[in-house]
């Protein structure tokens, strides 16, 4: 007898529809799985057999062939356990065949028949919803998939429980409560650095990339960590986008669903696959895990040269496209990049108090590790110099606080949304235009750099609630590109 149970396999952040077809016939006993399945899927045989037996079902002493259609698509992961087991039950008459005409199933089986969560539950939920199907899956994932509007979820904690029929539908739970933004560093805890704090605000308001350059111990890392607290909460669409990436990477998506923007700070020993994604099967990298949030790269020039340059395309397009032998995978990567570096190898170039021991070719070589194309993409680059020790010793209260800065960021974003949708070029005043042209010529800025500079000027204008982009806004934006041309 034959039976079919719909399920899916992950390609990028999507669950592509897959049909599990089971055929049980007389003949030499066999449990075979065909249809480009990876090792984890092949191991499903032993889990399915044990799970069915320990849940009181019969595993047929017959020829059982399971086909995963479409056959040319590579299938991976343990989520096939449950649909394979259900297809065998239907094909042996232990469950009514028509049970799964409009229900797809996904989940891993324990040997005791328990149904466990798998990576990408959220993607499976979105896909089932898109196909107009109910989703049968682990009870443990019910609160996560509840974030998908209108999904009809049927939670099950063990395969023995479907004997009496499918569990009832649980539809959309209420929106996850907005979580408190948890910044581990408050701006008020950082003494001095008022320009850098201003830049953090601009970066947060406009989603601009930020490069902090300064000697060791000047506070670059603390500043970057404070950035988390400035970001506005995620919109419902962004929540789902960010949570999908977390989910397919096998991470807990609940923080994203609650509206917290991710902050990722990979170490500089990170590989290309670790940063932009890769592996078999492909998994999202740090830049995708930081989607809608902040990717912080400390000790920027210490990253491998190929690793750094691999950031260029994802930063520009907001998505990573991985081309592998098994196909093309796409992960979103809209991030605000915050990078921190020393100005030279010894770290003290330009420091008024300590002398730099690097020769000028060494300094040039150090800067060249980043390279023009990446500098171009850093909208704001500023120096973070050592602060007066008295500021630290006397614990003079900083005039800024994360709360106030966040309020300004939210106001700027709100103003940006509400002002007339005029292109930034059209909103330049005459004098602003002149200044921009002079500045761009003077520093021989690239086309991309000019475009990005305009974006920064627009954000600065939004922060002062100005519909026009004035000379002062362009001037300030130009000032934040000064370091790289020194």
């Amino acid at each position: 007898m034959q039976a079919t149970v719909p399920t899916g396999t992950l390609v990028g952040v999507d669950a592509v529809p897959v049909e599990v077809q089971a055929d049980v016939s007389a003949g030499l006993p066999l449990f075979g799985i065909v249809g480009l399945a990876d090792a984890a899927v092949m191991e499903a045989r032993d889990r399915v057999r044990a799970a069915l037996r320990s849940s009181g079902y019969d595993f047929p002493n017959a020829r059982v062939i399971v086909n995963l259609a479409p056959a040319p698509l590579r299938k991976h992961g343990t989520g096939f356990d449950l649909p394979i087991a259900l297809a065998v039950l239907c094909a042996t008459g232990q469950l009514p065949t028509e049970t799964f005409s409009n229900v797809s199933a996904v989940g891993e089986l324990g040997l005791d028949g328990s149904v466990r969560s798998v990576p990408g539950m959220l993607a499976h939920a979105v896909a089932a919803n898109g196909r107009g199907m109910d989703l049968l899956g682990p009870a443990a994932a019910a609160d996560v998939v509840g974030a998908v509007p209108e999904l009809r979820y049927r939670p099950v904690d063990s395969i023995g429980a479907v004997r009496a029929g499918l569990p009832g539908r649980r539809s959309h739970t209420s929106d996850a409560p907005a979580a408190d933004v948890q910044a581990d560093v408050d701006l008020a805890d950082i003494a001095g650095h008022e320009t850098a704090k201003r830049c953090l605000e601009i970066a947060a308001a406009g989603g601009h990339n930020l490069l902090l350059v300064g000697p060791p111990g000047s506070g670059k890392t603390m500043l970057a960590r404070a950035m988390c607290g400035l970001l506005p909460p995620l919109t419902p669409n962004e929540r789902l986008e960010a949570a999908l990436v977390q989910s397919v990477a096998g991470r807990d998506p609940r923080a994203s669903l609650a509206g917290v923007r991710p902050f990722r700070a990979p170490h500089h020993s990170c590989s290309i696959a670790g940063l932009v994604g890769g592996g078999t099967p492909p998994l999202p990298g740090e830049i995708s895990l930081a989607h809608t949030g902040v990717l912080f790269l400390d000790e920027f020039p210490e990253f491998g040269p190929a690793t750094l340059q691999s950031l260029r395309q994802p930063l520009e397009e907001g998505a990573v496209t991985l081309v592998r032998a098994c196909g093309v995978v796409r992960y979103p990567s809209r991030v605000t990049l915050v990078a921190a570096m020393n100005p030279c190898r010894c770290g003290y170039q330009g420091d008024p108090a300590r002398s730099c021991s690097c020769s000028s070719p060494m300094i040039a070589q150090y800067k060249a590790r980043i390279g023009g194309p990446l500098y171009d993409r850093m909208d704001l680059s500023i120096r973070v110099d050592r602060i007066d020790p008295s500021l630290l010793i006397d614990e003079i209260a900083s005039p800024s606080s994360t709360e106030a800065a966040r309020a300004r960021v939210l106001a700027a974003r709100e103003f940006g949304r509400s002002r007339p949708p005029v292109g930034v070029r059209a909103s330049l005043t005459r004098s602003a235009r002149h200044l921009l042209e002079a500045g761009a010529r003077g520093a021989s800025l690239s086309g991309r750099a000019v475009t990005r500079l305009l974006g920064v000027a627009r954000t600065i204008a939004d922060m002062s609630a100005s519909a026009r982009v004035e000379e002062e806004h362009v001037g300030e934006a130009l000032g934040y590109r000064a370091w790289e041309y020194q």
């Binding site: 003949g27 030499l28 006993p29 066999l30 017959a62």
Partner: protein, 120 residues
């Protein structure tokens, strides 16, 4: 008692055991050019191919060890040619193994592994 006598006595014991279990032994020591099936029996609707392993000592491993993956493959191949030559088409088939550990002249330990393995 030499090895082949021990083996033959083991197979007799196994066949007797299967009969007592309600199965009908239809063939013993069926061979084609490539090997031998120890016992072929019928259990209800199911054709049972049974491999018997008898050991007097475990110095060369347990009798279960002797039903190795290579041996299983060989048995599956033999089962196919048996079914073809006997004109048995579509029926359920089960591969059993019976292992016998000889303890003394008149005592042995018999284990029946139902559905011990399947075609790969």
């Amino acid at each position: 008692m030499d090895r082949s006598t021990i083996g033959a006595r083991g197979e007799d014991a196994a066949a007797g055991y299967l009969e007592r279990c309600g199965m009908q032994v239809i063939d013993r020591n069926w061979r084609d050019g490539r090997g031998e099936l120890d016992i072929v029996a019928i259990d209800g609707e199911t054709l049972v191919i049974c491999e018997v392993k008898t050991r007097a000592s475990e110095s060369k491993g347990t009798p279960e060890d002797a039903v190795s993956p290579a041996k299983q493959k060989r048995l599956v191949r033999l089962a196919r040619s048996y079914m073809a030559s006997a004109g048995i088409g579509s029926t359920n088939v089960r591969f059993d193994a019976i292992t016998i550990r000889v303890l003394s002249d008149d005592r042995a330990l018999l284990r029946h592994h139902r559905a011990a393995f399947e075609a790969e």
